[in-house]
Symmetry: C2
Subunit: 352 residues, 2 copies
């Protein structure tokens, strides 16, 4: 191995000055074509790579973006983040950025981490996931003019900052529509307690779809925090009602999984037009369609494994668009790029 190859090495090798080499890399248009080629050749020959540290010291830019990796709560929804991260890393690499991970127990700790990462590592930007009403993190970042994008809408003001999101309401509406088309009328919803942006959005999709079909959604929904056990409890409660729903839409795969068990436990009631969906996946149909169809949300591996019909989010796309927006802010003019709302799709399996 030879000595470390710096910009000076390249300059000497190509018979030009350091600045010219720098120009070839950063502003190729100011360099004569023939010179540019000669320099580029030297770069390739020597295997030169600009030192990020040196560049960063001068420019204050690190070409690093940070993402938080959350503790896998439920376990089921964990792999959502997994897919998102992969897409993010891949797109960032293509744009010349690298993704850095950080953890934080709560919003306050996360803000402290922002501060640390910004002052110590000169981070260029952040990708936040899972925003909610009055998020203190976005306020902190915006106040300091730090570039960031959220995966999840700013529920208070759609123009507050760049964001990417998946249209959850459209997803539950699509799920509800699928069940309506199969002949169901009384379609229940199992979701999260009112107040969370995402949860309310998903419930709204179901409600509006029912209303549009002329069905009164009153009394057809239940709510609880996420979890299989909760899903089972709520579904059992719904199915035991005076006039129970004949199909269920859920705000998550966790809830849906629990609901599925309640649906299976329930006697094969007199649901209309049962057994409409055909097995969609390649694996054998290992579970019979439940008497009460159930649709989940997120299309997690668990859903795929147990044959649960679920609303799938285009996570790779979402991650890519996050990077797009962020780099637009970083590399382009200082204007806020338009937000992106992606459409989910319904993945049909055995349960609906």
């Amino acid at each position: 191995m030879s000595e470390k190859v710096t910009i000076a090495t390249v300059a000497r090798h190509a018979q030009v000055s350091r600045q010219t080499v720098s120009n070839v890399l950063n502003s190729p248009h100011v360099v004569r074509e023939e010179t540019r080629r000669r320099v580029q050749e030297a770069i390739d020959t020597l295997g030169y790579r600009a030192s990020q540290a040196a560049r960063q010291m001068r420019t204050g830019r690190s070409r690093l973006i940070a993402v938080r990796i959350e503790p896998t709560r439920d376990g089921i929804n964990g792999s959502v983040l997994d897919r998102f991260l992969h897409g993010l890393t891949e797109t960032a690499e293509a744009a010349g950025y690298r993704a850095m991970l950080y953890t934080a127990a709560d919003a306050a700790a996360e803000i402290a981490t922002f501060d640390d990462l910004l002052s110590a590592y000169d981070l260029d930007g952040f990708v936040l996931t899972g925003t909610d009403h009055g998020d203190p993190r976005t306020a902190w970042l915006a106040e300091r003019g730090v570039p960031f994008v959220t995966f999840g809408r700013p529920w208070d003001d759609p123009d507050a900052h760049p964001w990417v999101d998946v249209d959850g309401a459209a997803g539950t509406a699509q799920a509800t529509g699928h069940l309506l088309a199969a002949g169901h009328r009384r379609i229940g919803f199992i979701g999260w307690p009112a107040g969370s942006g995402v949860g309310d959005d998903r419930r709204a999709g179901w409600r509006e779809a029912l209303r549009a079909a002329g069905v009164d959604p009153t009394g057809l929904d239940r709510e609880a925090v996420d979890g299989i056990a909760e899903g089972e409890r709520l579904a059992a409660d719904l199915l035991a009602a005076a006039s129970p729903p004949t199909a269920l839409v859920c705000a998550s795969d966790s809830l849906a999984l629990g609901a599925l068990q309640a649906a299976r436990a329930a006697a094969p009631s007199t649901g209309p037009a049962a057994r409409t969906a055909a097995p969609a996946t390649g694996t054998a149909a290992h579970t019979a369609a439940p008497a009460v169809p159930v649709i989940g949300f997120d299309d997690t591996p668990v859903a795929a494994a147990v044959g649960l019909t679920s609303v799938s989010q285009p996570l790779g796309d979402a991650a890519a668009r996050c990077v797009d927006l962020l780099t637009a802010v970083l590399d382009g003019p200082p204007r806020t790029p338009a937000p992106v709302l992606l459409q989910p799709s319904l993945v049909l399996r055995h349960t609906a």
Copy 2:
């Protein structure tokens, strides 16, 4: 906001030289206690943070470690990486390091990425996951003296480099032992094609456990690449044999999930001492114990969701130990720290 606060700002504020401030941070023992306190106070007051870029430029160390984020293959095993990454990031932060992500399509691309990360970002070290026989990546890194740790043994030479692993053989042995204790004798194994380190290890655990119990494992195992469909196929094949196994141990949850379906499809055969395990999880027992008990490997969310008994890897621990070993190499004397072999545990659920 005031101006950027550098080491010079602190020095002025504390009435000392830059170097003394630097010493307070990096070699506190050479500074008089009273001075140290004064400087520390100035640091806290001003909210000073050392610029990584400047430090890195001088020392050549970035306090960054890189991990590859793989494309979620199966989906089921994806969340394994998720948990590992979280633990890694957390432990790295505690040790003053940050985790950076990268992707790579294959080993060659990964090596190219090594080169890039090393020369451009001055990466301090790598954490590799999923090593195999004759891994070109470890060879490349070792040749250049780049610090790295693998999660997964170097299957050719245990002393080649620092590593952390989970004792897969012990896991399958434990699973097999559990079934033996329940009265089973003919216990089958569904695993991956011979040749992969991890797969062979897991098979060996099962084989030796059977042998130790005086059972001849011949003909009781099948192999295929990972996947639910494959698992179902292999299990069906095994169960259709002349003298079929009465219980199954699998090399992954994916295979186990498939096997479970085959086991349920099979008529409740005359297995011995059926129904020994009691429901372990908090959620209601939604699935009856199968006629042929099945045990998976990895304790994925899917396993938890469907009630599959599975061998659980201590991923958080593993990640932490990876960071420990890596920082030992980075911060300590240049000797190879002892490898770490962690023990998995059997999580009992409904299927065994």
